[in-house]
Amino acid sequence: MATRDLVLSALFAAIIVALGLVPPIMLGFIPVPITAQSLGVMLAGVVLGAKRGTISVLLVLVLAAIGLPVLSGGRGGLAVFMAPTTGYLIGWVFAVLTTGYLSQLLVSHSQAGFVQTVNFFVAALFGGVIVLYVCGISYLALVTGLGFSKAFMGSLAFIPGDILKAVIAALAGRAVMVGYPLLPQRT
Protein backbone atom coordinates (compact mmCIF):
# COMPACT_ATOMS: atom_id res chain seq x y z
CA MET A 1 0.00 0.00 0.00
CA ALA A 2 1.24 3.48 -0.84
CA THR A 3 2.22 5.53 2.21
CA ARG A 4 -0.31 8.17 1.21
CA ASP A 5 -3.16 5.64 1.30
CA LEU A 6 -2.00 4.38 4.68
CA VAL A 7 -1.98 7.94 6.01
CA LEU A 8 -5.37 8.78 4.48
CA SER A 9 -6.88 5.70 6.14
CA ALA A 10 -5.32 6.57 9.50
CA LEU A 11 -6.44 10.21 9.28
CA PHE A 12 -9.98 9.14 8.47
CA ALA A 13 -9.95 6.74 11.39
CA ALA A 14 -8.94 9.73 13.52
CA ILE A 15 -11.86 11.71 12.05
CA ILE A 16 -14.28 8.90 12.96
CA VAL A 17 -12.92 8.84 16.50
CA ALA A 18 -13.12 12.62 16.79
CA LEU A 19 -16.73 12.60 15.54
CA GLY A 20 -17.54 10.29 18.46
CA LEU A 21 -16.13 12.86 20.88
CA VAL A 22 -17.76 16.09 19.65
CA PRO A 23 -21.16 17.02 21.08
CA PRO A 24 -24.13 16.05 18.89
CA ILE A 25 -24.69 18.48 16.00
CA MET A 26 -28.12 19.98 15.43
CA LEU A 27 -29.73 19.53 12.05
CA GLY A 28 -31.07 22.68 10.44
CA PHE A 29 -34.56 21.79 9.32
CA ILE A 30 -35.74 19.59 12.18
CA PRO A 31 -34.54 19.85 15.78
CA VAL A 32 -32.78 16.47 15.87
CA PRO A 33 -29.26 16.09 17.19
CA ILE A 34 -27.01 13.92 15.05
CA THR A 35 -24.50 11.69 16.81
CA ALA A 36 -21.81 11.74 14.28
CA GLN A 37 -19.76 8.55 14.63
CA SER A 38 -21.86 6.24 12.45
CA LEU A 39 -22.03 9.13 9.99
CA GLY A 40 -18.23 8.95 9.97
CA VAL A 41 -18.43 5.34 8.79
CA MET A 42 -20.60 6.29 5.81
CA LEU A 43 -18.30 9.25 5.08
CA ALA A 44 -15.26 6.96 5.04
CA GLY A 45 -16.91 4.99 2.25
CA VAL A 46 -18.04 7.92 0.13
CA VAL A 47 -14.80 9.89 0.54
CA LEU A 48 -12.11 7.20 0.49
CA GLY A 49 -13.76 4.36 -1.42
CA ALA A 50 -13.91 0.68 -0.49
CA LYS A 51 -10.31 -0.25 0.29
CA ARG A 52 -9.06 2.77 2.22
CA GLY A 53 -12.46 3.30 3.85
CA THR A 54 -12.52 -0.25 5.15
CA ILE A 55 -8.99 0.05 6.49
CA SER A 56 -9.92 3.22 8.36
CA VAL A 57 -12.93 1.56 10.00
CA LEU A 58 -10.90 -1.54 10.86
CA LEU A 59 -8.37 0.76 12.52
CA VAL A 60 -11.06 2.31 14.71
CA LEU A 61 -12.22 -1.15 15.76
CA VAL A 62 -8.64 -2.23 16.52
CA LEU A 63 -8.15 0.86 18.67
CA ALA A 64 -11.35 0.05 20.54
CA ALA A 65 -10.29 -3.57 20.97
CA ILE A 66 -6.93 -2.63 22.48
CA GLY A 67 -8.62 -0.64 25.20
CA LEU A 68 -8.83 2.92 23.92
CA PRO A 69 -12.16 4.70 24.52
CA VAL A 70 -12.59 5.65 20.87
CA LEU A 71 -16.25 4.80 20.39
CA SER A 72 -18.98 7.35 21.03
CA GLY A 73 -19.75 7.81 24.70
CA GLY A 74 -16.16 6.88 25.56
CA ARG A 75 -16.72 3.18 24.95
CA GLY A 76 -13.83 0.87 24.24
CA GLY A 77 -12.14 -2.30 25.35
CA LEU A 78 -12.89 -5.89 24.45
CA ALA A 79 -16.26 -5.69 26.18
CA VAL A 80 -17.74 -3.75 23.25
CA PHE A 81 -17.12 -6.87 21.17
CA MET A 82 -19.06 -8.99 23.62
CA ALA A 83 -22.21 -6.89 23.85
CA PRO A 84 -25.64 -7.43 22.27
CA THR A 85 -24.96 -4.52 19.91
CA THR A 86 -21.62 -5.90 18.70
CA GLY A 87 -23.24 -6.78 15.37
CA TYR A 88 -23.57 -3.09 14.56
CA LEU A 89 -19.88 -2.60 15.25
CA ILE A 90 -18.81 -5.54 13.10
CA GLY A 91 -21.41 -4.31 10.61
CA TRP A 92 -19.44 -1.07 10.19
CA VAL A 93 -16.83 -3.02 8.23
CA PHE A 94 -19.38 -4.37 5.75
CA ALA A 95 -21.20 -1.04 5.70
CA VAL A 96 -18.12 0.95 4.69
CA LEU A 97 -17.03 -1.73 2.24
CA THR A 98 -20.43 -1.64 0.52
CA THR A 99 -20.72 2.16 0.63
CA GLY A 100 -17.22 2.56 -0.76
CA TYR A 101 -17.68 -0.05 -3.45
CA LEU A 102 -21.00 1.43 -4.60
CA SER A 103 -19.57 4.97 -4.54
CA GLN A 104 -16.76 3.90 -6.83
CA LEU A 105 -19.21 2.04 -9.06
CA LEU A 106 -21.92 4.69 -9.32
CA VAL A 107 -20.24 8.09 -9.03
CA SER A 108 -18.04 9.60 -11.72
CA HIS A 109 -16.59 13.05 -12.33
CA SER A 110 -18.48 13.50 -15.58
CA GLN A 111 -21.91 13.33 -13.87
CA ALA A 112 -23.95 16.38 -12.94
CA GLY A 113 -23.67 17.42 -9.29
CA PHE A 114 -27.20 16.34 -8.45
CA VAL A 115 -26.66 12.89 -9.97
CA GLN A 116 -23.45 12.49 -7.97
CA THR A 117 -25.26 13.40 -4.75
CA VAL A 118 -28.09 10.95 -5.44
CA ASN A 119 -25.63 8.17 -6.23
CA PHE A 120 -23.66 8.85 -3.05
CA PHE A 121 -26.98 8.70 -1.16
CA VAL A 122 -27.81 5.31 -2.69
CA ALA A 123 -24.34 4.03 -1.72
CA ALA A 124 -24.60 5.37 1.85
CA LEU A 125 -28.16 4.10 2.27
CA PHE A 126 -27.40 0.64 0.99
CA GLY A 127 -24.13 0.22 2.91
CA GLY A 128 -24.60 2.43 5.93
CA VAL A 129 -28.24 1.57 6.64
CA ILE A 130 -29.36 -1.68 4.97
CA VAL A 131 -26.15 -3.71 5.25
CA LEU A 132 -25.47 -2.27 8.71
CA TYR A 133 -28.89 -3.21 10.06
CA VAL A 134 -28.76 -6.68 8.51
CA CYS A 135 -25.53 -7.29 10.42
CA GLY A 136 -26.71 -5.65 13.64
CA ILE A 137 -30.12 -7.29 13.72
CA SER A 138 -28.83 -10.76 12.76
CA TYR A 139 -26.27 -10.66 15.53
CA LEU A 140 -28.75 -9.39 18.08
CA ALA A 141 -31.27 -12.04 17.05
CA LEU A 142 -28.86 -14.96 17.09
CA VAL A 143 -26.67 -14.09 20.05
CA THR A 144 -29.38 -13.07 22.47
CA GLY A 145 -31.85 -15.66 21.19
CA LEU A 146 -34.45 -12.93 20.73
CA GLY A 147 -35.33 -13.99 17.20
CA PHE A 148 -35.33 -11.82 14.09
CA SER A 149 -38.70 -10.12 14.31
CA LYS A 150 -38.18 -8.88 17.86
CA ALA A 151 -34.61 -7.81 17.15
CA PHE A 152 -35.92 -5.90 14.15
CA MET A 153 -38.63 -4.18 16.19
CA GLY A 154 -36.08 -3.18 18.80
CA SER A 155 -33.91 -1.52 16.15
CA LEU A 156 -36.68 0.21 14.19
CA ALA A 157 -36.55 3.47 16.12
CA PHE A 158 -32.99 4.22 14.96
CA ILE A 159 -33.55 3.76 11.24
CA PRO A 160 -34.99 7.25 10.38
CA GLY A 161 -31.97 8.95 12.00
CA ASP A 162 -29.62 6.78 10.00
CA ILE A 163 -31.41 7.59 6.76
CA LEU A 164 -30.86 11.27 7.55
CA LYS A 165 -27.20 10.53 8.10
CA ALA A 166 -27.07 8.95 4.63
CA VAL A 167 -28.40 12.25 3.23
CA ILE A 168 -25.71 14.21 5.08
CA ALA A 169 -23.03 11.74 4.00
CA ALA A 170 -24.14 12.14 0.38
CA LEU A 171 -24.07 15.96 0.50
CA ALA A 172 -20.72 15.98 2.28
CA GLY A 173 -19.27 13.28 0.04
CA ARG A 174 -20.12 15.24 -3.08
CA ALA A 175 -18.73 18.48 -1.58
CA VAL A 176 -15.45 16.80 -0.63
CA MET A 177 -15.26 15.28 -4.10
CA VAL A 178 -15.41 18.78 -5.56
CA GLY A 179 -13.00 20.33 -3.04
CA TYR A 180 -10.44 17.53 -2.72
CA PRO A 181 -11.07 14.59 -5.01
CA LEU A 182 -9.79 11.26 -3.72
CA LEU A 183 -11.90 9.03 -5.98
CA PRO A 184 -11.09 7.27 -8.18
CA GLN A 185 -8.23 6.06 -6.03
CA ARG A 186 -4.86 7.00 -7.53
CA THR A 187 -2.54 4.00 -7.64
Binding site: T3, R4, L6, V7, L8, S9, A10, L11, F12, A13, A14, I15, V17, L21, V22, I25, M26, G28, I34, A36, L39, L43, V47, L59, V60, V62, L63, A65, I66, G67, L68, P69, V70, G73, G74, R75, G77, L78, A79, F81, M82, A83, P84, T85, L140, V143, T144, G145, L146, G147, K150, G154, I168, L171, A172, A175, V176, G179, Y180, L182
Partner: protein, 201 residues
Amino acid sequence: MRSLHIDGNSVLHRLPAAAKLAALAVISLVLFMIDNAGFLAGAALAGLAGHVLLRISATEIWRRMRPFVLIVVVVALFTAVFNGTGEGLTAFFRLAALALFASLVTATTTTGDFIGVITRAAMPLERLGLLKARDVGLSIGLVIRFVPEILSRYEVIRDAHYARGLKPRPVSLIVPLIITTLKSADEIAAAIDARGIRSQK
Protein backbone atom coordinates in the same frame (compact mmCIF):
# COMPACT_ATOMS: atom_id res chain seq x y z
CA MET B 1 -7.23 9.72 25.13
CA ARG B 2 -6.74 7.72 28.29
CA SER B 3 -6.52 3.98 27.74
CA LEU B 4 -8.74 1.64 29.76
CA HIS B 5 -5.60 -0.17 30.90
CA ILE B 6 -4.92 -0.08 34.64
CA ASP B 7 -1.33 -0.28 35.91
CA GLY B 8 -0.49 -3.18 38.16
CA ASN B 9 1.61 -6.28 38.67
CA SER B 10 -0.97 -9.03 39.18
CA VAL B 11 -0.82 -12.50 37.64
CA LEU B 12 -3.18 -11.27 34.95
CA HIS B 13 -0.91 -8.31 34.22
CA ARG B 14 2.07 -10.60 33.80
CA LEU B 15 0.33 -13.18 31.60
CA PRO B 16 1.16 -12.75 27.89
CA ALA B 17 -1.51 -10.79 26.03
CA ALA B 18 -2.00 -13.60 23.50
CA ALA B 19 -2.76 -16.07 26.29
CA LYS B 20 -5.33 -13.74 27.81
CA LEU B 21 -7.03 -13.24 24.46
CA ALA B 22 -7.15 -16.99 23.84
CA ALA B 23 -8.59 -17.56 27.33
CA LEU B 24 -11.21 -14.88 26.73
CA ALA B 25 -12.23 -16.58 23.48
CA VAL B 26 -12.61 -19.95 25.23
CA ILE B 27 -14.53 -18.42 28.15
CA SER B 28 -16.96 -16.63 25.86
CA LEU B 29 -17.59 -19.85 23.91
CA VAL B 30 -18.34 -21.68 27.16
CA LEU B 31 -20.66 -18.88 28.29
CA PHE B 32 -22.60 -19.20 25.05
CA MET B 33 -22.86 -22.98 25.18
CA ILE B 34 -24.13 -23.26 28.74
CA ASP B 35 -27.72 -22.14 29.30
CA ASN B 36 -27.86 -22.55 33.06
CA ALA B 37 -28.75 -19.26 34.80
CA GLY B 38 -27.06 -20.34 38.05
CA PHE B 39 -23.77 -21.13 36.29
CA LEU B 40 -23.87 -17.87 34.35
CA ALA B 41 -24.60 -15.89 37.51
CA GLY B 42 -21.57 -17.55 39.10
CA ALA B 43 -19.46 -16.58 36.08
CA ALA B 44 -20.61 -12.96 36.27
CA LEU B 45 -19.77 -12.93 39.97
CA ALA B 46 -16.31 -14.35 39.21
CA GLY B 47 -15.76 -11.59 36.66
CA LEU B 48 -16.73 -9.01 39.26
CA ALA B 49 -14.51 -10.67 41.87
CA GLY B 50 -11.62 -10.42 39.41
CA HIS B 51 -12.04 -6.64 39.34
CA VAL B 52 -12.10 -6.51 43.12
CA LEU B 53 -8.95 -8.64 43.37
CA LEU B 54 -7.23 -6.20 41.01
CA ARG B 55 -8.21 -3.48 43.51
CA ILE B 56 -10.29 -1.65 40.96
CA SER B 57 -12.56 0.73 42.83
CA ALA B 58 -16.34 0.49 42.65
CA THR B 59 -16.59 3.84 40.85
CA GLU B 60 -14.05 2.69 38.28
CA ILE B 61 -15.92 -0.61 37.75
CA TRP B 62 -19.10 1.40 37.27
CA ARG B 63 -17.36 3.74 34.80
CA ARG B 64 -16.22 0.75 32.74
CA MET B 65 -19.56 -1.07 32.82
CA ARG B 66 -21.92 1.89 32.48
CA PRO B 67 -21.98 1.90 28.65
CA PHE B 68 -23.27 -1.70 28.69
CA VAL B 69 -25.80 -1.54 31.51
CA LEU B 70 -28.65 -0.04 29.53
CA ILE B 71 -28.39 -2.32 26.51
CA VAL B 72 -27.90 -5.45 28.64
CA VAL B 73 -30.92 -4.61 30.78
CA VAL B 74 -33.06 -3.79 27.73
CA VAL B 75 -32.17 -7.03 25.98
CA ALA B 76 -32.74 -9.04 29.17
CA LEU B 77 -36.14 -7.39 29.71
CA PHE B 78 -37.11 -7.96 26.09
CA THR B 79 -36.15 -11.62 26.41
CA ALA B 80 -37.98 -11.96 29.73
CA VAL B 81 -41.19 -10.47 28.33
CA PHE B 82 -41.21 -12.60 25.19
CA ASN B 83 -39.48 -15.82 26.26
CA GLY B 84 -40.06 -15.96 30.02
CA THR B 85 -38.24 -14.81 33.14
CA GLY B 86 -35.81 -17.75 33.12
CA GLU B 87 -34.42 -16.89 29.71
CA GLY B 88 -34.33 -13.22 30.63
CA LEU B 89 -32.12 -13.98 33.63
CA THR B 90 -29.92 -16.26 31.53
CA ALA B 91 -29.44 -13.48 28.99
CA PHE B 92 -28.67 -10.92 31.70
CA PHE B 93 -26.00 -12.98 33.48
CA ARG B 94 -24.43 -14.17 30.24
CA LEU B 95 -24.08 -10.66 28.83
CA ALA B 96 -22.85 -9.30 32.16
CA ALA B 97 -20.25 -12.06 32.48
CA LEU B 98 -19.01 -11.47 28.93
CA ALA B 99 -18.56 -7.75 29.51
CA LEU B 100 -16.82 -8.29 32.85
CA PHE B 101 -14.32 -10.88 31.59
CA ALA B 102 -13.53 -8.75 28.54
CA SER B 103 -12.98 -5.75 30.81
CA LEU B 104 -10.51 -7.79 32.90
CA VAL B 105 -8.34 -8.46 29.84
CA THR B 106 -8.53 -4.83 28.79
CA ALA B 107 -7.59 -3.61 32.26
CA THR B 108 -4.51 -5.80 32.52
CA THR B 109 -3.03 -5.46 29.02
CA THR B 110 -1.15 -2.41 27.78
CA THR B 111 -1.76 -0.84 24.38
CA GLY B 112 1.82 -1.71 23.47
CA ASP B 113 1.30 -5.41 24.30
CA PHE B 114 -1.84 -5.48 22.19
CA ILE B 115 0.01 -3.89 19.27
CA GLY B 116 2.68 -6.56 19.68
CA VAL B 117 0.07 -9.33 19.43
CA ILE B 118 -1.59 -7.75 16.41
CA THR B 119 1.75 -7.23 14.68
CA ARG B 120 2.66 -10.89 15.21
CA ALA B 121 -0.79 -12.01 14.11
CA ALA B 122 -0.33 -9.95 10.94
CA MET B 123 2.93 -11.71 9.99
CA PRO B 124 1.19 -14.50 8.01
CA LEU B 125 -0.76 -11.82 6.12
CA GLU B 126 2.53 -10.09 5.38
CA ARG B 127 3.87 -13.31 3.87
CA LEU B 128 0.79 -13.39 1.64
CA GLY B 129 1.70 -9.86 0.54
CA LEU B 130 -1.53 -8.39 1.92
CA LEU B 131 0.00 -5.89 4.31
CA LYS B 132 3.15 -4.97 6.17
CA ALA B 133 2.92 -6.11 9.77
CA ARG B 134 4.82 -3.04 10.97
CA ASP B 135 2.27 -0.74 9.37
CA VAL B 136 -0.21 -1.80 12.04
CA GLY B 137 1.69 -0.11 14.86
CA LEU B 138 2.46 2.90 12.69
CA SER B 139 -1.21 3.38 11.73
CA ILE B 140 -2.40 3.04 15.32
CA GLY B 141 0.17 5.63 16.39
CA LEU B 142 -0.95 7.97 13.63
CA VAL B 143 -4.59 7.81 14.70
CA ILE B 144 -3.79 8.52 18.35
CA ARG B 145 -1.49 11.33 17.26
CA PHE B 146 -4.05 13.10 15.09
CA VAL B 147 -7.30 12.80 17.07
CA PRO B 148 -6.52 15.84 19.28
CA GLU B 149 -5.35 17.75 16.21
CA ILE B 150 -8.65 17.06 14.45
CA LEU B 151 -10.66 17.99 17.53
CA SER B 152 -8.97 21.38 17.67
CA ARG B 153 -9.53 21.83 13.94
CA TYR B 154 -13.20 21.06 14.55
CA GLU B 155 -13.36 23.80 17.18
CA VAL B 156 -11.70 26.28 14.84
CA ILE B 157 -14.23 25.52 12.09
CA ARG B 158 -17.14 25.76 14.53
CA ASP B 159 -15.86 29.10 15.85
CA ALA B 160 -15.48 30.34 12.29
CA HIS B 161 -19.21 29.74 11.91
CA TYR B 162 -19.99 31.74 15.04
CA ALA B 163 -17.61 34.52 14.02
CA ARG B 164 -19.57 35.00 10.81
CA GLY B 165 -22.95 34.70 12.51
CA LEU B 166 -23.69 31.26 11.06
CA LYS B 167 -25.19 28.28 12.89
CA PRO B 168 -22.91 25.23 12.65
CA ARG B 169 -24.56 22.54 10.51
CA PRO B 170 -23.41 18.98 9.89
CA VAL B 171 -22.39 19.44 6.25
CA SER B 172 -20.72 22.83 6.67
CA LEU B 173 -18.79 21.51 9.70
CA ILE B 174 -17.79 18.16 8.32
CA VAL B 175 -16.75 19.09 4.79
CA PRO B 176 -13.99 21.57 5.74
CA LEU B 177 -12.93 19.24 8.55
CA ILE B 178 -12.42 16.37 6.11
CA ILE B 179 -10.75 18.49 3.44
CA THR B 180 -8.26 20.25 5.72
CA THR B 181 -7.42 16.99 7.48
CA LEU B 182 -6.94 14.90 4.37
CA LYS B 183 -4.89 17.64 2.72
CA SER B 184 -2.24 17.18 5.39
CA ALA B 185 -2.00 13.51 4.35
CA ASP B 186 0.38 14.34 1.53
CA GLU B 187 2.86 16.00 3.83
CA ILE B 188 2.56 13.36 6.54
CA ALA B 189 3.12 10.64 3.95
CA ALA B 190 6.12 12.53 2.60
CA ALA B 191 7.54 12.84 6.13
CA ILE B 192 7.19 9.07 6.61
CA ASP B 193 8.86 8.35 3.28
CA ALA B 194 11.59 10.94 3.76
CA ARG B 195 12.57 9.35 7.06
CA GLY B 196 12.57 5.92 5.41
CA ILE B 197 10.25 4.57 8.08
CA ARG B 198 8.45 2.04 5.90
CA SER B 199 11.25 1.22 3.48
CA GLN B 200 13.13 -1.14 5.79
CA LYS B 201 12.59 -4.86 6.06
